[in-house]
């Protein structure tokens, strides 16, 4: 923590100096700038692109027809920055002396062929329609996972309302990289009940790259990448911000976030932001009973500052995520027979009373992140980007004591400290060629204490180098990339668990090739192939102990080798003014897929014999398909349908891969209520959603403790509107999740052996933007 404090101080003092470098601007008569943003390949219009005019700092998002407008701008010399996820950034310089019209072409980033871009869980409806940031504000969930979970191909591994882990096409944890503010999040991802440490209120856009994206993002991205891109900092003077309040009825949760941002007068290009949020939740409830001890609370603070001019910029970001999460009392069992009894009951034996208190077992997690980003043009040939990240993840787990009047006892503490450095150079597009090269390095140390510590102490060094090049010719874009990674881990002895000191070294190549072809103005086809790998993680190498949620004795294998995949992905997208259809299909083979398998031995303990499960490597084949349809039925009415399915199988012997998500169907209807001619109420929208999840059918009975739960259908509804009162705007929405109060168990819920999923949940959201 000391280090973080020093860095923040340094940052604040330097930030104060930076603005003095700013340029003065000559002011003349006002002019209007209009324009359109188009995809350079398909020539389709791009809604939702951010267009920022420097140094004025004015920003616009392109509307549904791709157009934007700046009215009454002082004439003068400007830089225009255009950004949209999935596209390379575009920077133009402009002498605005008269009214001007512009057409801006954005070059797609084709290697991320299967991008799904979300700015909220409802963005899927809005890929073709304009959506303001305020609208995003109105649909935010309790966790990052909840915000992501409706994207086709993305599901979440749930451990109660508070812990949700994103699963991309059946893969999660060490197989998915989360990039937060340009830095790969290094949390304690050892368990399925360890959720990403990210504030759901953080002002970011979220990008999900499905499938291996290892060339740019390293070995961890074998299953995909979730990229949290902080919203751009203001670049002009004035203070603005927003206050957001959320309330959830199911666990009587209150949550709020205050964001204040601004620039400095006389220092165009300089911007800062402070954002804090908190939430307090009580126990969740199923339709029939309270889930005891599932209360949680969270406090987050983030400070960012940056300076940006046309030649480059710097941005510094410091944040703290801190949470205390109760673990459902009924999910802790003493031994296998207890578990069998719990499964037979299917719901807790005790009837719990609702409260906000968090007792053992519970966990506390603090994640501190300091990230520094800088970019500049170099040699007049391209853009150089640097990201340094320093993060500390501190996790403690607590168990209740035999004597319930005594406070819970800390049984384990893990501290993970990570330095990471990324350097990337993107050369300017020339003759249809564009691309980048990069290096990155990680230094990581983990220290643990406690009798039940999951993993030994270790020190890890990792280095990678990559190159990625695209070639655009006519309607065809070709992509190729390669990467080399080196990973060295020193494991320190953990005598109590019989783990000896040892070194692990892994190194390998990853590669990707892709092609994107625009067959007609409506139809685009993309084909990508990628080979990726990841080293076994420390828990897969060295786990040793009983897991009290599954009554399994888990044993690592220090002789595991790397896991390698080769995959292909084919996507076709058809788009007209009122209809967009996207079909994806993929196939990935794994050599040495690491999985926890029963050994048919048992381990004797004071609590009886536990079945032993060991991390093993098997060949595996994962394949699946996703379909997404957006249809504008009427001007006011639109429909969205998404279907996702994934299957996984091992070979020799043939056996399904454990834990693949069941098939999912999502249908949404959105009705834009026509203008009521009441000035105080605007942009009223009604939304009805239906989610159907099938029963998981690809599993042998001996692979799980209980047959998968039956499929289920959930309905939710939302009404959102914008109130114009007291000279300001208030964005509100009221949502009912699980409208029919359906009793169900989700296959990906870790509590499914012991209890049902939560019942009906009313969610009220309020957001008040203020300032200039």
């Amino acid at each position: 923590m000391r280090s973080l404090a020093i860095a923040v101080l340094a940052f604040l003092s330097i930030s104060g100096i930076l603005p003095s470098i700013g340029h003065a601007l000559e002011l003349r008569a006002p002019v209007t700038l209009r324009g359109r943003v188009l995809d350079s390949v398909s020539k389709e219009t791009l809604p939702g692109a951010s267009v920022v005019l420097e140094p004025s700092g004015f920003g616009r998002r392109t509307r549904s027809n791709g157009e934007f407008e700046f009215v009454n701008v002082e004439s003068g010399r400007y830089a225009v920055h255009v950004r949209l996820i999935g596209y390379f950034e575009k920077h133009l310089e402009l002498d605005l002396t008269a009214n001007t019209e512009l057409t801006i072409l954005l070059v797609p980033e084709p290697l991320h062929g299967s991008d799904v871009i979300v700015t909220s869980k409802d963005e899927r409806l809005h890929r073709e329609t304009y959506m303001s940031e305020e609208e995003l504000e109105a649909v935010r969930g309790q966790t990052l996972g909840e915000t992501l979970e409706h994207i086709p191909g993305v599901t979440t591994l749930q451990t109660g309302a508070s812990i949700s882990k994103p699963v991309i096409r059946g893969l999660h944890s060490q197989r998915v990289t989360i990039l937060n503010a340009g830095v790969a999040q290094e949390g304690q991802q050892w368990g399925a009940e360890h959720a990403p440490e990210v504030d759901p209120f953080a002002p970011t856009v979220i990008e999900v790259l499905k499938g291996a994206s290892s060339v740019e993002f390293g070995a961890g991205a074998i299953g995909g990448v979730i990229r949290l891109v902080p919203r751009e900092l203001p670049t002009s003077a004035g203070i603005r911000g927003s206050l957001t309040l959320n309330a959830f009825s199911n666990n009587r949760q209150g949550a709020g976030s205050l964001l204040i941002e601004g620039g400095l007068r006389g220092a165009p290009g300089f911007g800062w932001r402070v954002q804090g949020s908190g939430r307090i939740a009580g126990d969740s409830r199923t339709p029939d009973y309270v889930l005891g001890n599932t209360a949680f609370k969270e406090d987050n603070l983030a400070v960012s500052s940056g300076y940006s001019i046309e030649a480059g910029g710097v941005e510094l970001h410091a944040s703290r995520f801190s949470s205390t999460i109760g673990i459902f009392s009924g999910s802790h069992v003493g031994n296998k027979e207890d578990l069998e009894r719990a499964i037979e009951r299917g719901q807790p034996a005790v009837s719990y009373n609702f409260d906000y208190s968090i007792e053992g077992p519970y966990q506390t997690v603090t994640h501190d992140l300091l990230s520094l980003g800088a970019h500049t043009r170099v040699f007049d040939a391209g853009r150089l980007e640097l990201h340094y990240g320093l993060q500390q993840n501190d996790r403690s787990e607590f168990e209740k004591q035999r004597d319930p009047t005594k406070p819970a006892r800390e049984t384990m503490n893990l501290k993970l400290l990570t330095h990471s450095l990324d350097l990337k150079f993107s050369h300017d597009p020339a003759d249809g060629w564009y691309g980048s090269v990069g290096v990155n390095g990680i230094r990581q140390g983990n220290t643990g204490s406690g009798f039940d510590v999951l993993i030994p102490n270790y020190r890890l060094h990792q280095a990678g180098v990559y190159a990625l090049e695209n070639y655009l010719v006519g309607n065809l874009t070709l992509t190729a990339g390669a990467r080399f990674d080196l990973n060295a881990t020193t494991v320190y002895p953990l005598v109590r668990k019989g783990i000896e000191g040892q070194e692990h070294r892994f190194s390998s190549l990853s590669g990707a090739v892709g092609a994107s072809y625009q067959l007609s103005s409506e139809l685009n086809v993309r084909l990508n192939a990628a080979s990726a790998w990841r080293p076994p993680s420390i828990n897969e190498l060295h786990a040793y102990g009983v897991h009290h949620g599954t009554a399994q004795f888990e044993v690592g294998d220090s002789s595991l080798r790397e896991e390698r995949s080769v995959g292909m992905d084919l996507t076709a997208r058809y788009q007209t003014a009122s209809l967009a259809v996207e079909v994806s299909t993929y196939l990935t083979t794994f050599d040495g897929f690491i999985t926890l398998s029963p050994t048919r031995r048992s381990v004797l303990t004071v609590n009886g014999a536990f079945p032993e499960f060991k991390y093993e490597q098997r060949r595996a084949l994962l394949r699946g398909a996703e379909l997404s349809i957006n249809y504008q039925i009427l001007e006011e009415l639109s429909a969205h349908v998404a279907i996702a399915s994934v299957r996984g199988d091992h070979y020799d012997p043939d056996q399904p891969v454990y834990g693949m998500p069941p098939d999912r169907l999502q249908v949404d209807l959105r009705y834009l209520v026509p203008d009521l001619r009441i000035k105080a109420i605007q942009h009223t929208e009604l939304h009805l959603g239906l989610q159907a999840v099938s029963e998981h059918d690809n599993l042998l009975p001996e692979q799980d403790l209980t047959p998968p739960p039956p499929g289920y259908v959930l309905v939710d509804a939302r009404l959102s509107t914008e109130l114009h009162v007291f000279g300001g705007r208030i964005l509100t929405s009221l949502e009912v999740q699980n409208l029919l109060n359906t009793t169900y168990k989700d296959y990906l819920s870790r509590y499914r052996y012991f209890a049902h999923d939560p019942g009906r949940n009313f969610v009220a959201r309020l957001s008040i933007p203020f300032g200039s």
Partner: protein, 189 residues
């Protein structure tokens, strides 16, 4: 040439690097105190002579998640005899040994022992619980064990300690979370 805007970040980077080079790597982490059941001793005294004693022990010094396997030693009971039984549970993993049976006695309304016989000896031994909690429900720290007369045989004497999240869950017959589940080998002569 690198633009001057990069000077500050580089300076800052150095500050951050210097300030944060204290990440720890001690190979022997400090311990947190933890309740482990390392020693379970079952002691049966012949109720007639009050001299002849049969003792069965379970020892797992490094706890359930340690690499050492538990050591279990069984006992020999005499056919046709009646014994008074007591069970003693300890945690010797911390610096000072902790008497967990004493704690169980204090929290009697949230604990109960279950005794049963497995294997060939099934039906030859009955265990009667002599102590009760404040609600009048059996506890099981002290027992009377009867061995019915018959031929020599072998089997297992199974001890389960159930721990109840709330006293309401203890009914005298229902089982809670198993804190102990040990089967001691026995021989009847």
């Amino acid at each position: 040439m690198i633009h001057h805007t990069l000077r500050w970040p580089v300076a800052l980077l150095l500050i951050a690097l210097i300030a944060s080079c204290d990440d720890p790597q001690s190979p022997n982490p400090p311990e947190l105190e933890q309740e482990l059941i390392t020693h379970v001793t079952l002691r049966l005294i012949d109720s007639a002579t009050m001299i002849d004693t049969a003792v069965a022990t379970f020892i797992d010094e490094d706890g359930a998640n340690g690499p050492k396997s538990p050591m279990i030693s069984g006992m020999t009971l005499a056919s046709g005899r009646t014994y008074l039984g007591s069970i003693h549970i300890e945690d010797r993993s911390n610096t000072s040994a902790e008497d967990i049976s004493e704690e169980i006695r204090e929290l009697a309304t949230q604990h109960q022992f279950f005794y049963s016989i497995t294997g060939e000896a099934e039906g030859r031994v009955t265990t009667e619980i002599l102590d009760t909690d404040t609600n009048g429900l059996p506890l099981g720290l002290s027992t009377r064990v009867r061995v019915t007369p018959g031929s020599s045989t072998q089997g297992g004497y199974r001890v389960i300690l159930s721990h109840y999240e709330k006293p309401e869950l203890k009914t005298g017959t229902s089982q809670g979370e198993s804190d102990i589940d040990i089967t001691f080998p026995i021989t009847i002569r």
